[in-house]
Subunit: 209 residues, 2 copies
C-alpha cells in the first residue's frame, strides 16, 4: 500500500473487477489460483495480473499462485472495504429507490440511512425501512448524522445545486452522481459520475461497426 | 469516419462526453467554440480535443474553431444516432422501471417497447405505457418484433441465462448489462456492462486517500 501514490487510475479502476472475481472464486470454493488462471477468467494476461497486484504489494508466491481468500481480503482493504460507509440518497424516484434496494451495496458495507426528495408525494414515505425526508432538511440532517457518501439521483437541472448545498455543509466525503451532467465540488469532496447515457451511446457506436 | 478502424476504444468512450457538452452549448445558444474553450469546459487540453476530433475527420477550421451545431450533428452520426433503436428491458424491478422512465434515452433515439419479468406480480402490468410480458415469451416476442438492444436488469444469478436465451434468437444486436457479473454472448452481439458496484468501490478507494 505504500506504493499507492504511483498507481495509475486505470489500475485502480480494475481493482473492483478483481474484487468481484475473487468473491466468485470464494463462492465456488476455489482456494488458490495462478495469475494465468485468474487472467483467463478475467480476460487479462497473466503479466497484467502480476503487474496490477505488484502495484499494491504483490501477494502471490512463485510456484503457488495466489491464496484467493487472502487476496480478496487484501484487495478489499486497498479499496477501503475494511470499514463501512454511511450513505444518503438524494432523489427518491425510481433510480434512487433502485439503488436503495441493492442489497449488494449493503453487503459490501454501504449502508443507506435516509433518502431526500423535494416531491411532497414522496416525502414522509418509508421505502424498504428507509425514510424519505424533505430535501430542505438536508443541512440539518448532515449536521446531526455521520454521512460519508451522497448518491445524487436527481435530474440534470437540480444536480449541481444539490451538490453545492451538501458540499457546503463539509459533512460528506463523496458524491456518487447519476445525473447526466458533470458536477463540481470543492476540493476534498470526491465526485464519481455514472453517466448511463455515455455507456448507452457507446453501445450504439459499437452496434454500428 | 473512414479512419474509424484505427480509433482507440478510449477515444470512442470520450465521444459521448463531447455529445453531452455540445448539446449543452446548443441549449445555451453558443454557435462556435475553439478547441481551447471546449477543452476548458470539458477538462481536456486543446490538443486532446483536436486529436480526438481529427480521429473522426477533423471538423474545425483554423482561426474559427468549431461550428457547435455541425459538430454535434457529426458526433451524433459517428455514434450512430442518425437512426433510432428499439429496446426491450429484461427485469422490471426498480432499476428496469427507472431505465424505462429515462426520457433522456427516448429523446436520444432509444425507444423502449416492452419489458419482461418472471415475477407474476409484475407480468401484465403497464408501466409508463410499456407492457410487462412474461419472460417465457421472450423468444416469440423477438421473432415478431424488431429489437436492437436488450437492457438486462436481472440479478447476478439469472443474467447469463437471460443473455444466452436472447442471444440464441439471433434477433438482437446488443445487450446493455446491469447485473453485477460479466456476461458472455456469441460473436456479433455487443455486450456493454454497467457495473455500478465497481464505480461505488472506486468512490470508497478515493475517499480513503
Amino acid at each position: 500500500m505504500e506504493k499507492k501514490d504511483k498507481v495509475s487510475m486505470a489500475a485502480i479502476r480494475r481493482l473492483p473487477k478483481y474484487y468481484r472475481y475473487l468473491k466468485d472464486l470464494i463462492d465456488r470454493d476455489v482456494e488458490k489460483i495462478s495469475s494465468k488462471e485468474l487472467g483467463d477468467i478475467m480476460g487479462f494476461t497473466a503479466s497484467q495480473i502480476r503487474q496490477d497486484l505488484n502495484n499494491f504489494g504483490g501477494f502471490g508466491q512463485q510456484g503457488y499462485g495466489y491464496n484467493v481468500k487472502e487476496l480478496y481480503g487484501e484487495v478489499g482493504k486497498i479499496l477501503g472495504l475494511d470499514k463501512s460507509y454511511e450513505v444518503v440518497i438524494i432523489g427518491a424516484g425510481n433510480l434512487g429507490q433502485a439503488l436503495s434496494n441493492y442489497t449488494n451495496f449493503e453487503k459490501t458495507g454501504f449502508n443507506c440511512k435516509a433518502m431526500f426528495d423535494v416531491n411532497p408525494r414522496l416525502v414522509g414515505m418509508t421505502i424498504r425501512d428507509i425514510k424519505v425526508y424533505d430535501f430542505d432538511d438536508i443541512e440539518g440532517y448532515l449536521e446531526t448524522h455521520d454521512v460519508d457518501i451522497a448518491f445524487v439521483c436527481t435530474n440534470k437541472e437540480s444536480a449541481q445545486d444539490v451538490a453545492s448545498r451538501i458540499s457546503n455543509t463539509c459533512k460528506i466525503s463523496a458524491i456518487w452522481n447519476f445525473a447526466p451532467t458533470d458536477i463540481v465540488t470543492p476540493e476534498g469532496i470526491v465526485v464519481e459520475n455514472v453517466h448511463l447515457i455515455d455507456s448507452l451511446l457507446t453501445v450504439a457506436y459499437r452496434i454500428k461497426d
